[in-house]
């Protein structure tokens, strides 16, 4: 009868705090527990470190010690399902929303949504930007813009963009904000992943473009959301970032 599946199962249960598997041998038998603890620590610390790499602002907000404990609980609730740890953490924002000890900080989940989106944008597929000249002669009533695979728009219930920005290294004096925010996240030509809070007009414009509406239609929605809205600054910003990758008429 194969013994290895049983060995792996018992070793893994012991990593999670269960009794040590049989047959462990240390130089001094009294030190078996301490030596096994190296594996326990490696698993816990490496997963916590992996999560911290994806969610540095959450760690900054809750502190290193709290974060390590939080990572342990999250790793148990939603362990990584592949060795590609950059993909781990899709459910972390929801986990924070439901985590009772953080109930007094309801914006944590939204900050985690921003950080998760930044990770996705960082690793998103490449796509070359269009030549700005193609926009000049286009008919807005027929023009549809294809956006870079990294572009993500997040409607957040809390002022999480402001919180995220205040917690960046070297952030100046950014005033606290209140109320919901919409975040625009993309990877620019220098591979940076800035986070921008959009006003209601820009948010409606972006939502329209991402939904594949024509430029005129998206601009109309923007004006409905914010009278006298000018789509130009956002479009110029997207162009500069290299985020417009396709045009169809």
């Amino acid at each position: 009868m194969p013994a290895h599946p049983e060995f792996v199962a018992r070793f893994e249960a012991a990593l999670r705090g269960g009794p040590l598997p049989p047959g462990l041998r240390a130089r001094d038998p009294a030190e078996v527990e301490r030596r096994f603890a190296v594996y326990r620590n490696n698993v816990a610390a490496s997963l916590s470190q992996a999560l911290a790499t994806r969610f540095p602002v959450i760690r900054r907000l809750v502190g290193d010690e709290f974060f390590a404990a939080l990572a342990g609980l999250y790793a148990r609730a939603e362990p990584p399902q592949s060795p590609v740890l950059a993909e781990w953490g899709a459910g972390f924002a929801g986990f924070l929303d439901r985590f009772p000890p953080l109930a007094a900080w309801p914006y944590m989940g939204d900050v985690a949504r921003i950080e998760h989106a930044r990770g996705r944008a960082f690793h998103a597929a490449d796509a070359p930007p269009v030549d700005p000249a193609v926009l000049a002669g286009a008919d807005p009533a027929r023009l549809r813009l294809g956006l870079h695979p990294s572009v993500i728009l997040l409607a957040l219930a809390h002022p999480a963009v402001s919180i995220w920005r205040r917690n960046q290294p070297g952030a100046g004096d950014i005033p606290p904000a209140a109320g919901p925010e919409t975040a625009l996240i993309l990877r620019d030509r220098a591979f940076d992943v800035p986070v921008q809070a959009l006003g209601p007009g820009d948010a409606a414009l972006m939502a329209g473009l991402l939904a594949g509406r024509t430029l005129a239609c998206a601009a109309q929605a923007a004006q409905a959301a914010e009278p006298a809205h000018d789509p130009q600054p956002l479009l110029v910003g997207l162009m500069r970032a290299g985020a417009i990758t396709q045009t169809t008429e």
Binding site: G23, F36, V38, A86, S150
Partner: protein
Amino acid sequence: MLPELPGVGFKPEHFAAIRQGAAGIGFFEVHAENYMGAGGLPHAQLAALRADRPLSIHGVGLSIGGARGLDAAHLDRLRLLCDRYDPDSFSEHLAWSSHGADYLNDLLPLPYTEETLALVCDHIDRVQTVLGRRILLENPATYLRFDQSTLPETAFLAEIARRTGCGLLLDVNNVFVSCTNHGTDPRAWLADLPLDLVGEIHLGGHAAEDLPSGPLLIDSHGAPVADPVWALYAEVIATAGPRPTLVEWDNDLPDWPVLAAEAARAGAILAQGGTRLARAS
């Protein structure tokens, strides 16, 4: 084949310094799992490194020593990565790191038995078939041994290589860490390993803790290579001749010149080994 020169584990923090020249560095090695996104900076940097120098892709997550079959999706990711960058070497570990679908992110140990030998060989056959290349298998750093084991680690590794045709990645720091932890002689371990199977050598730093029975060494990759490890390495090179040698430093990263100096130290030992062998022949 990698060149018989020193290489370093690539870290994005060092990219700008490396682009200034990185004289004496014969190859770079990356962890496969860090390059499995679709695009962006990691691939831009790796493509730039690959254009200039030989490349080693080192997997840390395939769980070759696992009890269930290999993760087909992950193996496919490795195949795509190898197809994309055509590395000069692909290597993995004699360890397991997944349980079911759950990934534990550590290189965990296995007993050395006829059963695990057959299992590991099956897994390596599959990897070599899917990747269409011979791989190198790395000896682990271990903190415990198992009553269940019926084969010494060196015999286990040599038999895997004999059955599958794979080569070995000799991590000299892991040999020193394991042998110190088990109270055995690293020189005897090295004397038992057929060094002609070694296609690459790893050197890294370890951490130490004092236990009543003696030191507990932990393979931390967060410090310079320790002097006893340098001494063992020089003996290996003197015996086996020069081998591609990687200095790995994954945690508490130093500035580039510190890492480059470690690689240069390996380079000096490699050059000496080459001269000695040339004189002997």
